[in-house]
């Protein structure tokens, strides 16, 4: 029978199918961080269980870590306590742990791929919804709750019903100044923030085939923002080249054996999806969001839609615009902006910093802008320095911070103040996401850079 890429990976990990119930799914790789794991370890202890396969779990500190002075003790006692709990739990059970200050430390969805923890054909979970990122490698990867973190620790399995399957094709060639982030924001704006709920999405077509691995990670990362459990892209030579030789990648005979399997990971020609949608790349422009969920996005050159023209409730739509301080029919370009954030598991990789540099090079940061440039990991930070990007940033009046999730969810001190507007390369524009009362416009690194040098929301195509 013809099957999809998703079926192949999922089905090969099912240990038991429960009639009118979930599948028992084996998990190859488990990533943990300081915020969603402590209670799972407490549960493990209270049941007198232990970690079944410590070598399949990897820990990094990222969510609440400061992005300056990481060599000093963490000031916030609650954050410090969580970091200590992660360190102690990892040590007690023999789990690899990259804590604050460790050379391998960084955002969980950045360091996983960088170190070959992320592999094609693997099942990967983490107590974080953006685990969908790893689908870029042809892995089945998704976020789980803390109860499930405990399940994986104690049994290396979770129990979930198999999701439905959707394929999204984008064919053709992306236009000038249009990035993977714009593709994702475009798809979310078309499908809505709940349009893919219940589905696992395979991305196919020219655009994803021609996209870099980092671009694919950005797209898969944002799958959850349209409600999907995860996104997946068939592995190809680009994938294998990326994975080869990394810290935890199989080596020698194990690599050869894995490659034989990985080359089978594609959707059969006549496989059927529960839903299939196709777009043309030339429909996509640089994107911007204007509301309080990622589905409220539009091309940067357009106007905020009227309530009557959007699907869903008018009252919720107006409540959202009121929070943002925007009005139906407003033009987006030229909106005053106070903060720019480059970073996160969505856009905190080296290509994102290169894109940002391509615009700020030879220009100056606008005086009204506070900018936070936060690499996704120490590896990314090192590349920024090696490639001379730091010099470009410094000359343009920008500072580089240390790695972490930072202003994406503002668990540390990187908070946008009430009422202030941030153009952010992160993944969520929810009310208060970047600090109580903060207003977030999601955009690509190019839009963020163009805005950072002009001080108002700017179409990057005018500066490229």
């Amino acid at each position: 029978m013809s099957t999809t890429l998703f079926d192949k990976v999922w089905d090969s990990h099912v240990i038991r199918k429960i009639n009118d119930g979930p599948d028992v799914l084996f998990i190859d790789r488990h990533l943990i961080h300081e915020v969603t794991s402590p209670v799972a370890f407490l549960g493990l202890k209270s049941r007198h269980n232990t970690v079944l396969y410590p070598n399949r779990t990897f820990a990094t500190a990222d969510h609440n870590t400061p992005t300056i002075n990481q060599h000093l003790p963490v000031e916030d006692p609650l954050s410090a306590n969580q970091l200590k709990a992660l360190e102690q739990n990892a040590a007690e059970y023999g789990i690899t742990h990259w804590g604050l200050g460790h050379q391998k430390n960084g955002i969980v969805h950045v360091v996983g791929p960088e170190n070959g923890i992320t592999l094609p054909g693997a099942t990967i979970v983490c107590g974080d919804s953006h685990t969908s990122t790893h689908g870029a490698f042809g892995a089945v990867a998704f976020g789980i709750g803390t109860s499930e973190v405990e399940m994986v620790l104690s049994s290396q399995c979770i129990m979930q019903p198999k999701p439905k399957k959707m394929r999204i094709n984008v064919n053709g060639k992306l236009g000038f100044g249009v990035t993977p982030k714009d593709v994702a924001l475009f798809l979310i704006s078309k499908l809505s923030a709940s349009g893919a709920t219940g589905y696992f999405v395979e991305y196919a077509g020219d655009v994803f085939k021609n996209m870099s691995m980092e671009g694919r990670m950005t797209v898969c990362n944002l799958s959850i923002e349209m409600g999907a459990r995860g996104g997946i892209i068939a592995p190809d030579e680009k994938t294998f080249n990326y994975v080869e030789g990394r810290l935890f990648t199989p080596k020698g005979a194990a690599w050869d054996k894995a490659m034989v399997y990985w080359k089978t990971l594609k959707t059969d020609a006549d496989a059927v999806f529960d839903k299939e949608i196709t777009f043309d790349a030339n429909e996509i422009e640089p994107m911007i969001t204007y509301g309080t969920n990622p589905g409220m996005g539009t091309s940067i050159s357009s106007y905020i839609p009227k309530a009557e023209s959007v699907e869903g409730g008018v009252a919720s739509y107006r409540k959202s615009l009121e929070y943002m301080g925007f009005h139906e029919g407003d033009k987006m370009i030229g909106k005053k902006v106070d903060f720019v954030f480059l970073g996160s598991c969505t856009n905190g990789r080296i290509e994102d910093f290169r894109a940002f540099a391509s615009i700020v090079k030879g220009r100056k940061k606008a005086d009204n802008i506070t900018a936070w440039l936060v690499p996704g990991s120490h590896d990314v930070e090192a590349k920024i320095k090696e490639e001379g990007l730091l010099d470009i940033f410094t000359a343009a009046g920008f500072e580089l911070r240390e790695p972490g999730c930072s202003a994406c969810l503002a668990m540390n001190d990187d908070k946008v103040p009430p009422g202030k507007v941030a153009v952010s390369t992160s993944n969520r524009n929810f009310e208060g996401r970047q600090g109580p009362g903060s207003r977030t416009l999601l955009a690509s690194p190019l839009v963020a850079a163009a805005t950072a040098v002009t001080g108002v929301l700017t179409d990057p195509r005018t500066l490229l």
Binding site: V39, N64, I144, E148, A193, T197, G198, P250, N293
Partner: protein, 198 residues
């Protein structure tokens, strides 16, 4: 952590007719710093419930004493966003045992069932009926009957059935959880793990 058994719940309900209620509203990220599952109910809907000076926002439903009960009724796409189970811990800790909506985000719904909060998905029409009934009488009671898989507006007798797979239903009725199940599968899991290529 196995949880309370759930069979039949009869209660008034708290209405929150807002769409796309995300988990950052249910529990903002700055309240995720605990290392134990304690006290999350205090910060349920923190920024909708309290002003910056911690005074209650009088127009928010949780601060309106005429609405109370063990059932929270939310608008479409309830629980979107982050996978934080803390959102469900906050809902539970506040005193809710059931959340009703016309559409749930996947991870939130799974998290609910994993800790013993019943997520009941109803049609958009029935959701409207519930909101209307509560608006005209805040003391209107709902009955959630898990064995029969029905939700009933007790005043009018209008009811609808809801879906839950039989595995999860058994778990909820008996207070079992997935770890109880997986623990019994250990040998089978170990055999499977040995054959994995990586």
């Amino acid at each position: 952590m196995a949880y309370d058994k759930f069979e039949i719940l009869k209660s008034t309900a708290v209405p929150l007719p807002v769409e796309n209620v995300d988990t950052d509203q249910i529990i903002p990220a700055r309240f995720l710093k605990a290392t134990e599952r304690i006290g999350f109910g205090d910060n349920l809907f923190r920024d909708w419930r309290y002003n910056a000076d911690n005074s209650p926002k009088t127009d928010f439903v949780l601060n309106n004493p005429i609405y109370k009960g063990k059932i929270l009724v939310g608008g479409k796409n309830f629980g979107s966003g982050s996978s934080r189970e803390h959102a469900v811990w906050a809902v539970y800790d506040y005193g809710f045992r059931c959340v009703v909506s016309s559409f749930f985000a996947d991870i939130f719904r799974g998290n609910c069932l994993n800790i013993g909060v019943l997520a009941v998905q109803v049609s958009a029409e029935f959701l409207d009926k519930i909101f209307t009934a509560i608006k005209s009488n805040p003391d209107a009671e709902l009955e959630i009957n898990l064995p029969n898989q029905t939700i009933t507006l007790l005043e009018s007798g209008e009811k609808e059935s809801f879906d839950i797979n039989s595995y999860k239903k058994e778990n909820m009725l008996n207070g079992y959880d997935d770890i109880d199940y997986l623990t019994k599968m250990k040998a089978e899991i170990q055999d499977f793990a040995e054959a994995r290529p990586f």
